[in-house]
Amino acid sequence: MAADSQIAIDKREREVLVTREDTGLSRRKYLAAVTALAGSPMLAGCAGDGDSGAQTGDGTETGDGDGVATDTASGEPRPGGHLRTSLVSPVNHFDLHINGLMVASIVGYQSVEKLFEPNTDLELVELLATDVSISDDGLTWDITLREGAMFHPPYERELVAEDVVANFERILDEDVGSFRSLVLSAVDSMEATGDYSLRLELAEQQASLQAGLGGYFGIPIFSPEAIEEGNIRKQPVGTGPFVFEEWTPEDQITLSAYDNYWTEDRPYVDQVTIRPIAEASVLTTELTDGNLHMLHKTPADFKSQLENDDSVTVHETDGLGYRALHVNPGSTPTDGRANGLPTTDPQVRRAVLEAVNRTAMVEIIEGGLGTPTQNYFPDDHPWHVDYTPYTVEANPERARELIGESGFSEPVPITIISASSDPVLQQLGTITRDNLSQAGFEPDLTEYDIGTWVTEAEAFRYDVNVNYFAGWFHPDGLRAWIDPDGLTQMNYETENRDRIFELFDELNSTTDKSEADPLNEELQQLMIDDAAYVPMYHPRKVRTTRNTVQDFTVHPFHLAYRLDEVWLDE
């Protein structure tokens, strides 16, 4: 209290006369004290940054909650409070260098940061990096790092370029086996050229490097000491806005605001609790009762109920991610496949894509909250290609024609795999089976538990597999999905394969968008024609917050859940 009283505010001038440095208080305590001393009359007079209706990007807000938050909110972010939010499934571990599970990244990125990240317009912007300079030949990348980014306790030291190099080296260590190594696959050597600068020398041009570093495969920078001590699987330590405090698996995760976070004033809330709650009705009740402030994912069946609730606001925007079908074009293995390997025939694969009803998928799985597609990038994305050769809704007649052209006779046997423990994958599998059974196929669906499904998918023991992905920031990302040296999601033996990989290389050799556009267009058209890996729809991103949650922005990228931006008007 004695320290707090050192802060004096001239309420007439509305200026803080004593700075934080003068008081010796931590930034958070200082802000809390300033807010308390200033009082609500001052804050009420401020214009509304906290306007809940001021959704950025393509985001929209619905519900009776609109405007309520604006009326009560002061507009000026207030520090403090305990934010309680939820995820629909639990996290398994936090070593994000090897864990691709989305919920792990959503939580982990509150504590650990990448060099770049996407903004709501899906442009890559600087996070731990502040500048990138690329040599004329595209082979030397000089990256300047942010000064003043501090690792969390117990290490509490400034991030320097050596730390980034150490993280990159771990990613490239074959014994670690990070899927993120693909981002650095063209890197020939790297070195810290100063405390805040590093240089990457590439063996070949990689125009997608920045997109890679900021997207799904972006490399989170952990404290090298925490890596060394082997703790990051259960306690990620980075430079992010929140310190990872405690984790009880499948129960709850506790984060606390990091006082020395490099973005002044952020995060606003003192503490965050994240609980995995799978049951939709419980999620909704917890939110409307006020036990949760935010839902990371809004159950589609409850959206209209929430929109009619005065105490909450539903935020939504088009999503970058997609649900997709893998139609196995590979001739090996034969285990788990239908006799005669029908999906090795491109006409059969196209018949599969003609048979499925994308609109029904959106309606049944997402409650209508999504956009049927055949494209890897949503309509407003800079890399979107408007190419839709297949019928959006099921066209069984066309599917039968294609089967006839293939030489196979009806009904064509076909195996489908999905995961019973994941509702989206399970429903994708069921709808696909039902659609195929009405279009000249004899589908055999096997629903595995998630562990077995992963094993079967990796071994390509299927004719059709279902999957989803968070989305790309550069078409080169698609290479990872089909490259046998990449993530090896499928055995991509198709007639267009060689040309597709040539196009990936050509795309990577230019940063000139106008030069890249025709290459991108040809690439995506060939992949869609190959009918081996084609998106079904882009689900909309729907988040719900209580009206006391201010400045929340729904992000089209699934992994971006910026809790440091929000504050509580309570």
Partner: protein
């Protein structure tokens, strides 16, 4: 043999059973298709060497019998190891989950008995009356109703509409007794309805059987009051099979109520084992199932000892 000697003998036999159970569990979890290494690396796994390295790091490259001996040695020396998925200490995970499951199971069975005993007894003693019909309806409805549906209904009414109880979550008994009980009310109510229905049905039917026996007729002929006949003889005899059922129900509630735990976000031992199975977290599953087995053994022992009290003719 005294009950104490019997308990010691049963305890030693239980250790042998646990040892056998440990071998069975260890073997079975490894027979399930799927690989923890694949799950840790996810579908985005990178180099082929990564799998080998991780397998080596987790000790999964060793022959199964060496893995078993190492695991058993750790178990006996108090080092239960870590979850191979989350890296968390298994002692910690169990210390958090097991008390929750025990709390839910014991509260559930106590409330179930509070409902079932009056209903079951009244239903048998006053056949074809309102009390009997209430017992029949309750036991039929309780057995038929899906637990998840009842749970969601309670959440909707008491958590949502009335806003009287927390819809999900858990507060430790040590932290706050009142809050702990508030969080337990709805899951306990679901368990009490389901288990109460089963116990009501058993008790009513056992009571009816006893009431038709000769000794009851004789006792009545001697002019013993009905309350005394029912309370002292009939109920005690009817309790022997009922106690067995109650014992099985308690054991089931400690580890088998995953759906209820899921609905109320009340993470107990059952959910720990299930998620361990789904992610092929071998050490967690092994310890979890062994604890469940030990719980069943202890409950069965208690039930066996109760037989002697209920029926002095039972010899140990």
């Amino acid at each position: 043999m005294s009950w104490a000697s019997y308990a010691i003998k049963r305890g030693l036999a239980s250790l042998v059973m646990l040892f056998i159970a440990s071998i069975v569990v260890f073997g079975i979890v490894r027979l399930i298709p799927g690989d923890p290494v694949s799950i840790i690396l996810g579908t985005q796994q990178g180099t082929a060497g990564a799998e080998e390295a991780l397998r080596r790091q987790l000790g999964l490259d060793k022959p199964p019998w060496i893995q078993y001996i190492e695991w058993l040695t750790g178990l006996l020396t108090g080092d239960w190891g870590e979850s191979i998925i989350s890296g968390q200490s298994i002692e910690r995970l169990v210390a958090i989950r097991y008390p929750r499951s025990l709390q839910l199971a014991f509260l559930g069975i106590i409330v179930a008995m509070v409902i079932a005993f009056p209903l079951g007894i009244a239903g048998a003693v006053r056949r074809n009356t309102a009390a009997d019909y209430a017992a029949i309806v309750f036991s039929q409805v309780g057995v038929s109703i899906p637990s998840f549906w009842l749970g969601i209904l309670l959440i909707f009414i008491f958590g949502g509409v009335l806003d009287a109880l927390p819809p999900s979550g858990y507060v430790s008994f040590n932290e706050n007794v009142v809050e702990s009980l508030r969080y337990s009310v709805m899951p306990v109510a679901v368990l009490a309805v389901i288990n109460g229905a089963i116990v009501t049905r058993y008790l009513r039917s056992e009571m009816l059987e006893e009431l038709n026996k000769d000794y009851v007729r004789t006792a009545r002929a001697y002019g013993h009051p009905s309350e005394r006949i029912v309370g002292r003889y009939v109920l005690k005899n009817a309790l022997i099979p009922t106690v067995t059922v109650i014992g099985i129900q308690v054991g089931w509630m400690v580890g088998g109520i995953v759906i209820i735990e899921q609905v109320f976000d009340y993470s107990g031992l059952g959910q720990l084992i299930l998620n361990g199975l789904l992610s092929r977290d071998y050490p967690v599953v092994q310890i979890g199932i062994l604890i469940l087995a030990a719980t069943f053994i202890v409950i069965n022992l208690v039930v066996d000892l109760l037989y002697g009290w209920l029926d002095p003719q039972v010899k140990y």
